[in-house]
Amino acid sequence: MALYDLQLYLYRLKNEPEMQDGFLLNPQAHMLSHGLNEQERKAMSDKDLRALWRYGVHPLLLAPMGRFFNLPPERYRATLRSLAGERTLRS
């Protein structure tokens, strides 16, 4: 799936309670119905924020996933820390 579409899925998951309910009820079916590919589904199922970061997800769409997965901020930071400098945002 294109990065735009993956980010749109995460954007909707961040903002729409119905999307959150659908994901929590049956994650695989929900992701399949929204077109996520196998790698993306695995990253989400594994709560693999590092993989999502490497796919190019914007940090302000990634951070809400950390909260959605109930990661406290210290664990969120520790999870991603070793990727510092790998993909720097440029204006």
Binding site: Q7, P59, L60, A84
Partner: protein, 274 residues
């Protein structure tokens, strides 16, 4: 004739309220006191309307439509959308007529902002508002600036937009306060989250407090990138500087707070009388 009666800029990091106690009590007290001071000074200026200029963090805008500037034109605003920032739900009256006047004036003065009847109030506005107007009793115009998804409006363009707001105030019959929110150095959600470039932050504050605060307008994109993408939000500070008519800034507070993943600062710009 109306006028800009107050102009300020301050950080809006959601951790300031969401994870308030992750910082030491001393740091928290100093930041909260600084933000409250800006609020007191704002209210002393007796504005009819408060214009809060913030970035949006993917609550109102997505990549399908990303305007450089988006002006709220609603009768009422509600927030915050994020429960985790631990601010009680609130409603604030919207200054619809001023919002619409800003948009109409913009089209006559070489700006083409989007406008929105439905602006969800998220931390970029809710965190400052908690300290600026704890009773949410000053009618509001929210303005969203794109600081999240490049290409971004330039620092100079944001300053010009602030100067334009100053002209709008003068063509209205209102006492208007402008507060720009965001920054300083931070990288929320990125692997660099928690890194703070204190040197960058202090250089910004000292430059804004100097006789030539507009020197910041010449700062390069690379310089801002080096302080973390959250530093892109100093665009709102430039908008507030433009609205003030020249500054310079009085630095009210600054704390580097890794626990809040943000260099937290606040300034009040000297508002020039025309």
């Amino acid at each position: 004739m109306g006028e800009i009666v107050f102009s300020a800029a301050m950080s809006h990091a959601p951790h300031i309220t969401g994870y308030a106690d992750h910082a030491s009590s001393e740091v928290k007290e100093r930041v909260y006191a600084g933000m409250a001071t800006i609020g007191e000074r704002l209210r002393q200026s007796r504005p009819d309307v408060l214009v809060v200029v913030s970035s949006d963090h993917f609550h109102n805008l997505f990549l399908d439509r990303m305007p450089a500037f988006c002006v709220g034109v609603a009768d009422k605003y509600s927030g915050p959308v994020e429960k985790w920032i631990k601010i009680d739900p609130f409603h604030a009256q919207g200054a619809r007529e001023l919002g619409q006047f800003i948009v109409a004036q913009a089209y006559e003065h070489r700006f083409d902002p989007a406008f929105a009847e439905n602006v969800v109030i998220e931390h970029g506005i809710a965190v400052p508002l908690k300290f600026l107007t704890p009773d949410y009793d000053i009618p509001l115009v929210p303005i969203l600036q794109n600081c999240m998804v490049p290409p971004l409006p330039t620092l100079r363009r944001c300053h010009e937009f602030g100067s334009f707001l100053r002209g709008v105030a003068q063509r209205s019959d209102l006492r208007i306060a402008v507060v720009g929110t965001g920054g300083l150095s931070h990288s929320p959600g990125a692997p660099e989250a928690g890194d703070i470039d204190t040197k960058f932050d202090l250089e910004l504050l000292s430059s804004l407090a100097s006789p030539h605060p507009e020197s910041v307008l010449d700062w390069s994109n690379e310089k801002l990138d080096g302080a973390g993408f959250g530093a892109w939000e100093i665009r709102q500070w430039m908008t507030a500087l433009g609205a003030s008519g020249g500054g310079p800034a009085e630095v009210v507070f600054y704390e580097s707070v890794p626990e809040w993943e943000t260099g937290c600062g606040g300034v009040i710009f000297g508002t020039q009388i025309d």
